[in-house]
Protein backbone atom coordinates (compact mmCIF):
# COMPACT_ATOMS: atom_id res chain seq x y z
CA UNK A 1 0.00 0.00 0.00
CA UNK A 2 1.38 3.39 -1.04
CA UNK A 3 1.78 6.03 1.65
CA UNK A 4 -1.67 7.63 2.10
CA UNK A 5 -1.72 11.35 1.36
CA UNK A 6 -5.48 11.57 1.92
CA UNK A 7 -7.49 9.68 4.50
CA UNK A 8 -11.20 10.04 5.13
CA UNK A 9 -12.08 8.14 8.29
CA UNK A 10 -15.70 7.18 9.03
CA UNK A 11 -16.99 10.47 7.67
CA UNK A 12 -20.63 11.51 7.88
CA UNK A 13 -21.73 14.69 6.11
CA UNK A 14 -25.19 16.24 5.95
CA UNK A 15 -26.26 18.78 3.35
CA UNK A 16 -29.63 20.40 3.69
CA UNK A 17 -31.87 17.85 5.38
CA UNK A 18 -30.11 14.84 3.81
CA UNK A 19 -27.24 12.69 5.02
CA UNK A 20 -25.09 12.59 1.89
CA UNK A 21 -22.10 10.65 3.20
CA UNK A 22 -22.44 7.98 5.87
CA UNK A 23 -19.51 6.04 7.33
CA UNK A 24 -17.32 6.99 4.38
CA UNK A 25 -13.75 5.69 4.69
CA UNK A 26 -11.33 6.21 1.83
CA UNK A 27 -7.57 6.44 1.44
CA UNK A 28 -5.64 7.80 -1.54
CA UNK A 29 -1.94 7.02 -1.61
CA UNK A 30 0.97 8.58 -3.43
CA UNK A 31 0.95 7.39 -7.04
CA UNK A 32 -2.73 6.44 -6.95
CA UNK A 33 -5.68 7.81 -8.88
CA UNK A 34 -9.03 7.18 -7.24
CA UNK A 35 -11.95 7.92 -9.53
CA UNK A 36 -15.35 8.50 -7.96
CA UNK A 37 -18.30 7.08 -9.81
CA UNK A 38 -22.01 7.18 -9.07
CA UNK A 39 -25.23 8.76 -10.19
CA UNK A 40 -25.95 12.49 -10.01
CA UNK A 41 -26.64 13.45 -6.40
CA UNK A 42 -24.81 10.38 -5.03
CA UNK A 43 -22.37 12.63 -3.15
CA UNK A 44 -19.27 12.81 -5.37
CA UNK A 45 -18.86 16.59 -5.05
CA UNK A 46 -19.64 16.39 -1.32
CA UNK A 47 -16.92 13.78 -0.90
CA UNK A 48 -14.39 15.87 -2.84
CA UNK A 49 -15.15 19.05 -0.90
CA UNK A 50 -15.02 17.13 2.37
CA UNK A 51 -11.62 15.74 1.34
CA UNK A 52 -10.45 19.32 0.80
CA UNK A 53 -11.57 20.19 4.34
CA UNK A 54 -14.30 22.53 3.10
CA UNK A 55 -17.42 20.95 4.57
CA UNK A 56 -18.31 20.44 8.21
CA UNK A 57 -18.76 16.82 9.28
CA UNK A 58 -21.17 15.22 11.70
CA UNK A 59 -18.61 12.52 12.51
CA UNK A 60 -15.20 11.29 11.41
CA UNK A 61 -12.16 13.23 10.27
CA UNK A 62 -9.98 14.01 7.24
CA UNK A 63 -6.20 13.60 7.21
CA UNK A 64 -3.75 15.09 4.73
CA UNK A 65 -0.54 13.12 5.20
CA UNK A 66 -0.16 12.72 8.96
CA UNK A 67 -2.18 15.82 9.85
CA UNK A 68 -5.90 15.89 10.71
CA UNK A 69 -7.05 18.89 8.65
CA UNK A 70 -10.73 18.74 9.63
CA UNK A 71 -12.80 16.83 12.15
CA UNK A 72 -16.36 16.58 13.41
CA UNK A 73 -15.66 18.96 16.32
CA UNK A 74 -15.10 21.75 13.82
CA UNK A 75 -11.32 21.87 14.25
CA UNK A 76 -9.44 22.93 11.12
CA UNK A 77 -5.71 22.85 10.36
CA UNK A 78 -3.88 23.96 7.22
CA UNK A 79 -2.89 21.11 4.96
CA UNK A 80 0.82 20.22 5.07
CA UNK A 81 0.55 19.15 1.41
CA UNK A 82 0.35 21.09 -1.80
CA UNK A 83 -3.33 20.91 -2.73
CA UNK A 84 -4.60 21.46 -6.27
CA UNK A 85 -8.33 21.77 -6.70
CA UNK A 86 -10.80 22.06 -9.56
CA UNK A 87 -14.33 22.63 -8.36
CA UNK A 88 -17.48 21.83 -10.32
CA UNK A 89 -17.76 25.59 -10.80
CA UNK A 90 -14.55 27.20 -12.02
CA UNK A 91 -13.49 28.89 -8.77
CA UNK A 92 -11.91 31.84 -10.58
CA UNK A 93 -12.87 35.52 -10.66
CA UNK A 94 -13.63 37.09 -14.02
CA UNK A 95 -11.30 39.96 -13.03
CA UNK A 96 -8.24 37.68 -12.98
CA UNK A 97 -5.89 37.22 -15.93
CA UNK A 98 -5.43 33.68 -17.24
CA UNK A 99 -1.70 33.42 -16.62
CA UNK A 100 -2.00 35.29 -13.34
CA UNK A 101 -4.56 32.80 -11.98
CA UNK A 102 -2.34 29.86 -12.91
CA UNK A 103 0.70 31.47 -11.28
CA UNK A 104 -1.41 32.15 -8.18
CA UNK A 105 -2.50 28.50 -8.03
CA UNK A 106 1.09 27.29 -8.34
CA UNK A 107 2.42 29.79 -5.82
CA UNK A 108 0.47 27.95 -3.09
CA UNK A 109 3.03 25.13 -3.41
CA UNK A 110 5.88 27.63 -3.16
CA UNK A 111 7.05 26.50 -6.59
CA UNK A 112 6.32 27.29 -10.19
CA UNK A 113 6.88 25.75 -13.63
CA UNK A 114 6.75 27.21 -17.11
CA UNK A 115 3.05 27.41 -18.00
CA UNK A 116 3.52 27.95 -21.75
CA UNK A 117 3.48 24.24 -22.76
CA UNK A 118 0.25 23.75 -20.82
CA UNK A 119 -1.39 26.81 -22.38
CA UNK A 120 -0.29 25.66 -25.83
CA UNK A 121 -1.66 22.16 -25.25
CA UNK A 122 -5.04 23.62 -24.29
CA UNK A 123 -4.87 26.24 -27.10
CA UNK A 124 -4.91 29.10 -24.59
CA UNK A 125 -1.51 30.65 -25.37
CA UNK A 126 -3.06 33.58 -27.21
CA UNK A 127 -5.35 34.18 -24.21
CA UNK A 128 -2.66 34.16 -21.52
CA UNK A 129 -3.01 37.84 -20.71
CA UNK A 130 -6.78 38.10 -21.11
CA UNK A 131 -9.28 38.47 -18.33
CA UNK A 132 -11.02 35.19 -17.49
CA UNK A 133 -14.33 37.05 -17.97
CA UNK A 134 -13.47 37.43 -21.67
CA UNK A 135 -13.11 33.67 -22.26
CA UNK A 136 -15.73 31.25 -23.53
CA UNK A 137 -17.15 28.77 -21.01
CA UNK A 138 -14.98 25.97 -22.37
CA UNK A 139 -11.83 28.10 -22.20
CA UNK A 140 -12.61 29.19 -18.64
CA UNK A 141 -13.06 25.53 -17.72
CA UNK A 142 -9.62 24.75 -19.14
CA UNK A 143 -8.14 27.47 -16.92
CA UNK A 144 -9.89 25.95 -13.89
CA UNK A 145 -8.55 22.48 -14.78
CA UNK A 146 -5.00 23.79 -15.23
CA UNK A 147 -5.26 25.61 -11.88
CA UNK A 148 -6.04 22.23 -10.31
CA UNK A 149 -3.18 20.36 -12.02
CA UNK A 150 -0.30 22.85 -12.15
CA UNK A 151 0.41 22.98 -8.40
CA UNK A 152 1.27 19.28 -8.60
CA UNK A 153 3.45 19.73 -11.70
CA UNK A 154 5.33 22.46 -9.82
CA UNK A 155 5.53 20.71 -6.46
CA UNK A 156 8.78 18.83 -5.73
CA UNK A 157 6.98 16.83 -3.02
CA UNK A 158 3.89 14.58 -3.41
CA UNK A 159 0.77 16.71 -3.81
CA UNK A 160 -2.94 16.04 -3.41
CA UNK A 161 -5.03 16.82 -6.48
CA UNK A 162 -8.82 16.98 -6.23
CA UNK A 163 -10.77 17.35 -9.47
CA UNK A 164 -14.56 17.59 -9.74
CA UNK A 165 -15.66 16.60 -13.25
CA UNK A 166 -12.62 18.19 -14.94
CA UNK A 167 -13.82 16.85 -18.31
CA UNK A 168 -17.12 18.78 -18.19
CA UNK A 169 -17.23 21.28 -21.04
CA UNK A 170 -13.91 20.17 -22.61
CA UNK A 171 -13.62 19.08 -26.24
CA UNK A 172 -12.39 15.56 -27.16
CA UNK A 173 -8.81 16.62 -27.87
CA UNK A 174 -8.57 18.38 -24.49
CA UNK A 175 -9.92 15.33 -22.66
CA UNK A 176 -7.21 13.22 -24.32
CA UNK A 177 -4.56 15.65 -23.09
CA UNK A 178 -6.13 15.73 -19.65
CA UNK A 179 -5.86 11.91 -19.50
CA UNK A 180 -2.15 12.10 -20.37
CA UNK A 181 -1.52 14.69 -17.66
CA UNK A 182 -3.37 12.61 -15.07
CA UNK A 183 -1.21 9.66 -16.02
CA UNK A 184 1.93 11.78 -15.78
CA UNK A 185 0.99 13.16 -12.35
CA UNK A 186 0.36 9.66 -11.01
CA UNK A 187 3.76 8.58 -12.33
CA UNK A 188 5.31 11.55 -10.50
CA UNK A 189 3.95 10.14 -7.21
CA UNK A 190 1.08 12.53 -6.58
CA UNK A 191 -2.30 11.43 -5.20
CA UNK A 192 -5.35 12.14 -7.35
CA UNK A 193 -9.03 12.06 -6.41
CA UNK A 194 -11.27 12.64 -9.42
CA UNK A 195 -15.02 12.64 -9.95
CA UNK A 196 -16.09 11.98 -13.52
CA UNK A 197 -18.68 10.42 -15.80
CA UNK A 198 -16.24 10.23 -18.73
CA UNK A 199 -14.95 6.76 -19.66
CA UNK A 200 -11.66 8.18 -21.00
CA UNK A 201 -10.84 9.76 -17.66
CA UNK A 202 -11.92 6.62 -15.83
CA UNK A 203 -9.26 4.62 -17.69
CA UNK A 204 -6.66 6.54 -15.68
CA UNK A 205 -7.96 5.12 -12.39
CA UNK A 206 -5.95 2.80 -10.19
CA UNK A 207 -9.05 2.48 -7.99
CA UNK A 208 -12.74 3.18 -8.54
CA UNK A 209 -14.88 4.34 -5.62
CA UNK A 210 -18.61 3.93 -6.08
CA UNK A 211 -20.32 6.61 -3.98
CA UNK A 212 -23.69 4.83 -4.27
CA UNK A 213 -22.32 1.74 -2.49
CA UNK A 214 -19.27 3.22 -0.66
CA UNK A 215 -17.05 0.53 -2.16
CA UNK A 216 -13.51 0.71 -3.50
CA UNK A 217 -12.63 -1.44 -6.49
CA UNK A 218 -9.05 -1.90 -7.66
CA UNK A 219 -8.67 -1.63 -11.42
CA UNK A 220 -6.03 -2.84 -13.78
CA UNK A 221 -3.32 -0.25 -13.35
CA UNK A 222 -3.01 1.85 -16.52
CA UNK A 223 0.48 1.79 -18.13
CA UNK A 224 2.73 4.63 -17.09
CA UNK A 225 3.29 7.03 -19.95
CA UNK A 226 6.02 9.53 -20.69
CA UNK A 227 6.98 11.99 -17.96
CA UNK A 228 8.22 15.28 -19.36
CA UNK A 229 11.16 16.88 -17.60
CA UNK A 230 10.05 20.19 -16.11
CA UNK A 231 12.17 22.55 -14.12
CA UNK A 232 10.45 24.02 -11.14
CA UNK A 233 11.64 27.13 -9.34
CA UNK A 234 10.80 28.54 -5.94
CA UNK A 235 8.27 31.36 -5.69
CA UNK A 236 6.70 33.25 -2.82
CA UNK A 237 3.16 32.05 -2.02
CA UNK A 238 0.50 34.68 -2.60
CA UNK A 239 -1.53 35.33 0.55
CA UNK A 240 -5.33 35.80 0.42
CA UNK A 241 -4.78 39.34 1.68
CA UNK A 242 -2.25 40.22 -1.06
CA UNK A 243 -4.59 38.78 -3.68
CA UNK A 244 -7.53 40.76 -2.24
CA UNK A 245 -5.55 44.01 -2.35
CA UNK A 246 -4.54 43.31 -5.96
CA UNK A 247 -8.15 42.70 -7.03
CA UNK A 248 -9.35 45.78 -5.13
CA UNK A 249 -6.76 47.98 -6.83
CA UNK A 250 -7.51 46.52 -10.25
CA UNK A 251 -11.30 46.59 -10.15
CA UNK A 252 -11.77 49.63 -7.87
CA UNK A 253 -14.83 47.81 -6.51
CA UNK A 254 -14.55 49.82 -3.27
CA UNK A 255 -15.40 52.98 -5.22
CA UNK A 256 -18.88 51.76 -6.11
CA UNK A 257 -19.89 50.87 -2.56
CA UNK A 258 -17.71 52.08 0.30
CA UNK A 259 -16.37 55.30 -1.20
CA UNK A 260 -19.78 56.34 -2.54
CA UNK A 261 -21.34 55.91 0.91
CA UNK A 262 -18.57 58.07 2.39
CA UNK A 263 -18.88 60.73 -0.31
CA UNK A 264 -22.68 60.92 0.08
CA UNK A 265 -22.36 61.29 3.86
CA UNK A 266 -19.73 64.01 3.40
CA UNK A 267 -21.92 65.71 0.80
CA UNK A 268 -24.89 65.77 3.20
CA UNK A 269 -22.68 67.27 5.95
CA UNK A 270 -21.46 69.98 3.56
CA UNK A 271 -25.01 70.97 2.64
CA UNK A 272 -25.74 71.69 6.31
CA UNK A 273 -23.58 74.82 6.10
CA UNK A 274 -21.03 76.24 8.52
CA UNK A 275 -22.09 74.65 11.78
CA UNK A 276 -18.86 73.27 13.26
CA UNK A 277 -18.22 76.38 15.38
CA UNK A 278 -21.41 75.79 17.35
CA UNK A 279 -20.65 72.17 18.27
CA UNK A 280 -18.96 70.77 21.35
CA UNK A 281 -15.91 68.53 20.92
CA UNK A 282 -17.84 65.25 21.03
CA UNK A 283 -20.28 66.37 18.34
CA UNK A 284 -17.44 67.76 16.21
CA UNK A 285 -15.57 64.44 16.28
CA UNK A 286 -18.82 62.59 15.59
CA UNK A 287 -19.38 64.59 12.40
CA UNK A 288 -15.74 64.34 11.27
CA UNK A 289 -15.71 60.54 11.58
CA UNK A 290 -19.26 59.98 10.19
CA UNK A 291 -18.21 59.64 6.49
CA UNK A 292 -15.40 57.25 7.50
CA UNK A 293 -17.90 55.16 9.49
CA UNK A 294 -20.20 55.06 6.43
CA UNK A 295 -17.27 53.80 4.30
CA UNK A 296 -16.62 50.95 6.74
CA UNK A 297 -20.28 50.03 7.25
CA UNK A 298 -20.58 48.99 3.60
CA UNK A 299 -18.31 46.08 4.46
CA UNK A 300 -16.13 44.02 2.18
CA UNK A 301 -17.24 44.15 -1.49
CA UNK A 302 -14.95 41.18 -2.23
CA UNK A 303 -17.28 38.87 -0.28
CA UNK A 304 -20.01 39.24 -2.91
CA UNK A 305 -17.46 39.15 -5.77
CA UNK A 306 -15.97 35.88 -4.51
CA UNK A 307 -19.33 34.15 -4.87
CA UNK A 308 -18.71 34.33 -8.63
CA UNK A 309 -17.92 30.76 -9.73
CA UNK A 310 -17.30 29.91 -6.04
CA UNK A 311 -13.91 31.65 -6.16
CA UNK A 312 -13.95 32.09 -2.37
CA UNK A 313 -14.41 28.35 -1.86
CA UNK A 314 -11.47 27.62 -4.18
CA UNK A 315 -9.31 29.97 -2.11
CA UNK A 316 -10.34 28.26 1.11
CA UNK A 317 -9.41 24.88 -0.41
CA UNK A 318 -5.96 25.80 -1.72
CA UNK A 319 -4.93 28.97 0.08
CA UNK A 320 -6.25 28.54 3.60
CA UNK A 321 -8.58 31.55 3.68
CA UNK A 322 -10.77 33.92 1.72
CA UNK A 323 -9.17 37.01 0.15
CA UNK A 324 -9.89 40.36 1.79
CA UNK A 325 -9.03 44.03 1.40
CA UNK A 326 -6.05 43.92 3.79
CA UNK A 327 -4.67 47.42 4.42
CA UNK A 328 -6.91 49.19 1.88
CA UNK A 329 -9.51 50.32 4.48
CA UNK A 330 -6.70 52.03 6.43
CA UNK A 331 -5.80 54.15 3.39
CA UNK A 332 -9.40 54.92 2.43
CA UNK A 333 -10.26 55.78 6.06
CA UNK A 334 -7.32 58.18 6.30
CA UNK A 335 -8.24 59.84 2.99
CA UNK A 336 -11.88 60.29 3.99
CA UNK A 337 -11.05 61.70 7.41
CA UNK A 338 -8.65 64.13 5.73
CA UNK A 339 -11.32 65.12 3.18
CA UNK A 340 -13.90 65.63 5.93
CA UNK A 341 -11.64 67.81 8.08
CA UNK A 342 -10.91 69.86 4.95
CA UNK A 343 -14.54 70.03 3.86
CA UNK A 344 -15.77 71.03 7.31
CA UNK A 345 -12.83 73.44 7.75
CA UNK A 346 -11.66 71.76 10.92
CA UNK A 347 -8.11 71.33 12.15
CA UNK A 348 -6.24 68.70 10.13
CA UNK A 349 -4.60 66.91 13.04
CA UNK A 350 -2.63 63.76 12.32
CA UNK A 351 -4.04 61.81 15.29
CA UNK A 352 -7.61 62.42 14.06
CA UNK A 353 -6.70 61.17 10.58
CA UNK A 354 -5.00 58.09 12.04
CA UNK A 355 -8.05 57.41 14.22
CA UNK A 356 -10.27 57.63 11.14
CA UNK A 357 -8.04 55.11 9.39
CA UNK A 358 -8.25 52.67 12.32
CA UNK A 359 -12.04 53.12 12.62
CA UNK A 360 -12.51 52.38 8.92
CA UNK A 361 -10.24 49.32 9.15
CA UNK A 362 -12.04 47.88 12.19
CA UNK A 363 -15.57 48.53 10.91
CA UNK A 364 -14.83 47.37 7.32
CA UNK A 365 -13.29 44.07 8.45
CA UNK A 366 -15.94 43.50 11.14
CA UNK A 367 -18.75 43.85 8.59
CA UNK A 368 -16.70 41.63 6.25
CA UNK A 369 -16.53 38.99 8.97
CA UNK A 370 -20.32 39.22 9.41
CA UNK A 371 -20.80 38.86 5.65
CA UNK A 372 -18.50 35.84 5.49
CA UNK A 373 -20.24 34.17 8.44
CA UNK A 374 -23.29 33.53 6.24
CA UNK A 375 -21.43 32.15 3.19
CA UNK A 376 -22.32 28.57 4.04
CA UNK A 377 -26.02 29.29 3.64
CA UNK A 378 -27.90 28.30 0.51
CA UNK A 379 -28.89 31.94 -0.13
CA UNK A 380 -26.31 34.16 1.63
CA UNK A 381 -27.47 37.24 -0.29
CA UNK A 382 -30.97 36.88 1.22
CA UNK A 383 -29.81 37.23 4.86
CA UNK A 384 -30.46 40.52 6.66
CA UNK A 385 -26.84 41.00 7.66
CA UNK A 386 -27.26 44.79 7.84
CA UNK A 387 -29.37 44.31 10.97
CA UNK A 388 -26.21 43.41 12.87
CA UNK A 389 -24.17 46.46 11.87
CA UNK A 390 -25.51 48.80 14.59
CA UNK A 391 -23.18 46.95 16.97
CA UNK A 392 -20.38 48.91 15.26
CA UNK A 393 -21.68 52.17 16.66
CA UNK A 394 -19.88 51.06 19.83
CA UNK A 395 -16.26 51.42 18.53
CA UNK A 396 -17.37 54.66 16.82
CA UNK A 397 -18.72 56.15 20.05
CA UNK A 398 -15.68 54.99 22.01
CA UNK A 399 -13.31 56.57 19.49
CA UNK A 400 -15.11 59.92 19.29
CA UNK A 401 -15.30 59.93 23.09
CA UNK A 402 -11.52 59.39 23.31
CA UNK A 403 -10.80 62.06 20.70
CA UNK A 404 -13.12 64.57 22.35
Amino acid sequence: MAKALLNLVDVQVRRGMNTVLEGCTLAVGAGQTVVLTGANGAGKSTLLETAAGLLPMEQGHVEHGEVVVADADGRRRPSPLTVGMTLQRNGVLGSELVAEHLQTAMSMSGHSVDIDPFLEAFNLMHRANDLVAHLSQGQARKVAVLAGLLPAFASPTPALIILDEPDAGLDDASIEILGQWLNELRAMGHALLVATHDERVMTQATHLYNTDQSEVETTTEPPVGKVDARTSREVKPLSPSAFGVKIHLRTMMWLNTNAMAGLLTLGILLTLGDFMEELDNLQRMGFILAPTLAVGLCGEPLVAALREERAGVWWRAVGGGEPHAGWIPLAIGAVFTFLTTNGLQDAREIHIILTGAVLCFVVWHSVGWMQRSTQRLARPHAVFIGLLTPVLILPYSILIGLLA
Binding site: R14, R15, G41, L394
Partner: protein
Protein backbone atom coordinates in the same frame (compact mmCIF):
# COMPACT_ATOMS: atom_id res chain seq x y z
CA UNK B 1 -57.42 23.71 22.26
CA UNK B 2 -53.86 22.38 22.70
CA UNK B 3 -51.89 22.92 25.89
CA UNK B 4 -49.61 25.56 24.35
CA UNK B 5 -52.50 27.62 23.04
CA UNK B 6 -54.30 27.29 26.41
CA UNK B 7 -51.26 28.57 28.30
CA UNK B 8 -50.92 31.36 25.73
CA UNK B 9 -54.56 32.33 26.29
CA UNK B 10 -54.07 32.38 30.08
CA UNK B 11 -51.00 34.59 29.58
CA UNK B 12 -52.95 36.98 27.33
CA UNK B 13 -55.71 37.19 29.90
CA UNK B 14 -53.17 37.96 32.61
CA UNK B 15 -51.52 40.64 30.45
CA UNK B 16 -54.93 42.19 29.79
CA UNK B 17 -55.65 42.16 33.54
CA UNK B 18 -52.27 43.77 34.21
CA UNK B 19 -53.05 46.55 31.74
CA UNK B 20 -56.44 47.18 33.33
CA UNK B 21 -54.95 47.26 36.83
CA UNK B 22 -52.07 49.47 35.67
CA UNK B 23 -54.39 52.00 34.09
CA UNK B 24 -57.29 51.94 36.60
CA UNK B 25 -56.04 50.72 39.98
CA UNK B 26 -52.30 51.27 40.44
CA UNK B 27 -51.52 54.44 42.41
CA UNK B 28 -50.23 57.52 40.65
CA UNK B 29 -46.62 58.47 41.22
CA UNK B 30 -45.39 61.78 42.59
CA UNK B 31 -45.16 64.69 40.18
CA UNK B 32 -41.92 65.61 41.96
CA UNK B 33 -40.26 62.31 41.05
CA UNK B 34 -41.32 62.06 37.39
CA UNK B 35 -41.49 64.50 34.50
CA UNK B 36 -44.52 62.66 33.15
CA UNK B 37 -46.33 60.73 35.94
CA UNK B 38 -49.08 59.46 33.61
CA UNK B 39 -46.54 57.83 31.29
CA UNK B 40 -45.02 56.00 34.26
CA UNK B 41 -47.88 53.47 33.96
CA UNK B 42 -46.06 52.07 30.89
CA UNK B 43 -43.69 50.62 33.49
CA UNK B 44 -46.20 47.80 34.23
CA UNK B 45 -45.90 46.68 30.60
CA UNK B 46 -42.26 47.58 29.93
CA UNK B 47 -40.58 45.76 32.83
CA UNK B 48 -42.51 42.43 32.57
CA UNK B 49 -41.96 42.46 28.78
CA UNK B 50 -38.20 42.88 29.34
CA UNK B 51 -38.28 40.05 31.90
CA UNK B 52 -40.05 37.80 29.39
CA UNK B 53 -37.53 38.80 26.71
CA UNK B 54 -34.66 37.60 28.92
CA UNK B 55 -36.44 34.25 29.36
CA UNK B 56 -36.91 34.02 25.57
CA UNK B 57 -33.25 34.86 24.89
CA UNK B 58 -32.28 32.23 27.46
CA UNK B 59 -34.36 29.70 25.53
CA UNK B 60 -32.70 30.85 22.30
CA UNK B 61 -29.27 30.23 23.87
CA UNK B 62 -30.19 26.78 25.23
CA UNK B 63 -31.82 25.79 21.93
CA UNK B 64 -28.82 27.01 19.90
CA UNK B 65 -26.33 25.17 22.11
CA UNK B 66 -28.51 22.04 22.07
CA UNK B 67 -28.60 22.03 18.28
CA UNK B 68 -24.88 22.76 17.80
CA UNK B 69 -23.57 20.29 20.36
CA UNK B 70 -26.28 17.58 20.51
CA UNK B 71 -27.90 17.86 17.06
CA UNK B 72 -31.26 17.62 18.85
CA UNK B 73 -34.36 18.35 16.78
CA UNK B 74 -36.18 19.33 19.96
CA UNK B 75 -33.45 21.87 20.78
CA UNK B 76 -33.72 23.31 17.26
CA UNK B 77 -37.42 23.81 17.83
CA UNK B 78 -36.55 25.58 21.09
CA UNK B 79 -34.13 27.83 19.14
CA UNK B 80 -36.93 28.73 16.71
CA UNK B 81 -39.41 29.34 19.52
CA UNK B 82 -36.91 31.35 21.60
CA UNK B 83 -35.98 33.62 18.70
CA UNK B 84 -39.61 34.32 17.79
CA UNK B 85 -40.59 34.93 21.41
CA UNK B 86 -37.48 37.10 21.89
CA UNK B 87 -38.42 39.13 18.84
CA UNK B 88 -42.00 39.65 20.08
CA UNK B 89 -41.10 40.60 23.65
CA UNK B 90 -37.99 42.52 22.59
CA UNK B 91 -40.07 44.74 20.30
CA UNK B 92 -42.68 45.18 23.05
CA UNK B 93 -39.94 46.34 25.42
CA UNK B 94 -38.20 48.64 22.95
CA UNK B 95 -41.46 50.17 21.70
CA UNK B 96 -42.84 50.79 25.20
CA UNK B 97 -39.44 52.13 26.32
CA UNK B 98 -39.33 54.59 23.42
CA UNK B 99 -42.82 55.91 24.23
CA UNK B 100 -41.96 56.23 27.92
CA UNK B 101 -38.55 57.78 27.15
CA UNK B 102 -40.10 60.36 24.83
CA UNK B 103 -42.51 61.42 27.61
CA UNK B 104 -40.08 61.23 30.54
CA UNK B 105 -36.68 62.20 29.07
CA UNK B 106 -37.86 64.16 26.06
CA UNK B 107 -36.15 61.71 23.71
CA UNK B 108 -37.17 58.20 22.66
CA UNK B 109 -33.58 56.94 22.43
CA UNK B 110 -30.16 57.76 23.84
CA UNK B 111 -27.16 56.40 21.93
CA UNK B 112 -24.90 56.86 24.96
CA UNK B 113 -26.95 54.63 27.30
CA UNK B 114 -25.52 51.11 27.54
CA UNK B 115 -28.76 49.37 28.68
CA UNK B 116 -30.78 50.87 25.83
CA UNK B 117 -28.25 50.00 23.17
CA UNK B 118 -27.41 46.47 24.27
CA UNK B 119 -31.11 45.63 24.55
CA UNK B 120 -31.72 47.23 21.14
CA UNK B 121 -28.94 45.08 19.65
CA UNK B 122 -30.41 41.98 21.26
CA UNK B 123 -33.75 42.74 19.61
CA UNK B 124 -32.05 43.40 16.28
CA UNK B 125 -30.32 40.04 16.63
CA UNK B 126 -33.70 38.37 17.16
CA UNK B 127 -35.08 40.10 14.03
CA UNK B 128 -31.97 39.01 12.12
CA UNK B 129 -32.26 35.39 13.25
CA UNK B 130 -36.02 35.16 12.52
CA UNK B 131 -35.96 36.92 9.12
CA UNK B 132 -32.66 35.37 8.07
CA UNK B 133 -33.77 31.85 8.96
CA UNK B 134 -37.04 32.29 7.08
CA UNK B 135 -35.11 33.38 3.99
CA UNK B 136 -33.23 30.05 3.83
CA UNK B 137 -34.23 26.46 3.10
CA UNK B 138 -34.07 24.31 6.23
CA UNK B 139 -30.87 22.29 6.57
CA UNK B 140 -27.77 21.85 8.70
CA UNK B 141 -26.08 24.85 7.06
CA UNK B 142 -28.96 27.15 7.99
CA UNK B 143 -29.31 25.71 11.47
CA UNK B 144 -25.57 25.86 12.26
CA UNK B 145 -25.26 29.46 11.09
CA UNK B 146 -28.23 30.85 13.03
CA UNK B 147 -27.54 28.71 16.10
CA UNK B 148 -24.04 30.25 16.16
CA UNK B 149 -25.59 33.73 16.09
CA UNK B 150 -27.93 32.64 18.91
CA UNK B 151 -24.90 31.72 21.01
CA UNK B 152 -22.94 34.90 20.21
CA UNK B 153 -25.98 37.04 20.89
CA UNK B 154 -26.43 35.65 24.37
CA UNK B 155 -23.23 37.45 25.39
CA UNK B 156 -25.36 40.61 25.29
CA UNK B 157 -27.83 39.27 27.90
CA UNK B 158 -25.58 39.53 30.98
CA UNK B 159 -24.15 42.83 29.65
CA UNK B 160 -27.69 44.21 29.33
CA UNK B 161 -28.67 42.85 32.73
CA UNK B 162 -25.76 44.42 34.62
CA UNK B 163 -25.61 47.57 32.48
CA UNK B 164 -27.67 49.75 34.84
CA UNK B 165 -25.82 48.42 37.87
CA UNK B 166 -22.48 49.53 36.44
CA UNK B 167 -23.31 52.46 34.17
CA UNK B 168 -26.45 54.39 35.17
CA UNK B 169 -26.49 56.94 32.36
CA UNK B 170 -30.13 57.54 31.56
CA UNK B 171 -31.94 54.26 32.11
CA UNK B 172 -32.79 53.83 35.85
CA UNK B 173 -31.33 50.98 37.93
CA UNK B 174 -33.24 47.97 39.28
CA UNK B 175 -36.42 48.64 41.30
CA UNK B 176 -36.91 45.19 42.84
CA UNK B 177 -34.52 42.72 44.42
CA UNK B 178 -32.05 45.42 45.37
CA UNK B 179 -32.03 44.58 49.09
CA UNK B 180 -33.45 47.90 50.30
CA UNK B 181 -37.04 49.04 50.55
CA UNK B 182 -36.97 50.34 46.97
CA UNK B 183 -39.29 52.85 45.38
CA UNK B 184 -42.27 50.52 44.83
CA UNK B 185 -45.13 50.33 47.32
CA UNK B 186 -47.37 47.28 47.90
CA UNK B 187 -50.00 47.96 45.24
CA UNK B 188 -47.44 48.85 42.61
CA UNK B 189 -45.47 45.73 43.48
CA UNK B 190 -48.60 43.58 43.18
CA UNK B 191 -49.44 44.87 39.68
CA UNK B 192 -45.82 44.41 38.64
CA UNK B 193 -45.86 40.85 40.00
CA UNK B 194 -49.10 40.01 38.14
CA UNK B 195 -47.53 41.48 35.01
CA UNK B 196 -44.32 39.46 35.41
CA UNK B 197 -46.21 36.21 36.02
CA UNK B 198 -48.58 36.90 33.10
CA UNK B 199 -45.75 37.66 30.70
CA UNK B 200 -43.89 34.54 31.89
CA UNK B 201 -46.99 32.39 31.26
CA UNK B 202 -47.46 34.13 27.90
CA UNK B 203 -43.89 33.47 26.83
CA UNK B 204 -44.05 29.81 27.89
CA UNK B 205 -47.33 29.36 25.99
CA UNK B 206 -45.85 31.14 22.97
CA UNK B 207 -42.84 28.86 22.93
CA UNK B 208 -44.92 25.70 23.41
CA UNK B 209 -47.20 26.68 20.52
CA UNK B 210 -44.24 27.68 18.37
CA UNK B 211 -42.40 24.39 19.04
CA UNK B 212 -45.51 22.42 18.08
CA UNK B 213 -45.88 24.47 14.90
CA UNK B 214 -42.23 23.88 13.96
CA UNK B 215 -42.66 20.13 14.60
CA UNK B 216 -45.68 20.13 12.26
CA UNK B 217 -43.70 22.06 9.61
CA UNK B 218 -40.87 19.52 9.88
CA UNK B 219 -43.36 16.65 9.54
CA UNK B 220 -44.87 18.28 6.46
CA UNK B 221 -41.42 18.74 4.93
CA UNK B 222 -40.57 15.06 5.54
CA UNK B 223 -43.81 14.02 3.87
CA UNK B 224 -43.12 16.29 0.88
CA UNK B 225 -39.60 14.88 0.72
CA UNK B 226 -41.00 11.33 0.67
CA UNK B 227 -43.44 12.29 -2.08
CA UNK B 228 -40.48 13.67 -4.06
CA UNK B 229 -38.95 10.20 -3.88
CA UNK B 230 -36.34 11.10 -1.26
CA UNK B 231 -34.13 12.83 -3.86
Amino acid sequence: MRLGETVLFVGFTGIGTTLLLALLWAPSVSINAFESPAAQRIFYWHVPAAWAAFIAFGALFVGSAGWLFKRSERMWRLHVAGSEAGLATGLMTVWSGCVWGAAEWGTPWDWTDVRLNTFGLLTLLAIYVVLGRNSQPDGVETRDTFAAFGLYGFVLVPVTYIATRIWTIRHPGPVVGTGDEGSINGEMGLVLLIGAVSFTVFIIGHMMASMRLTALEQRLERMQHNFDGGA
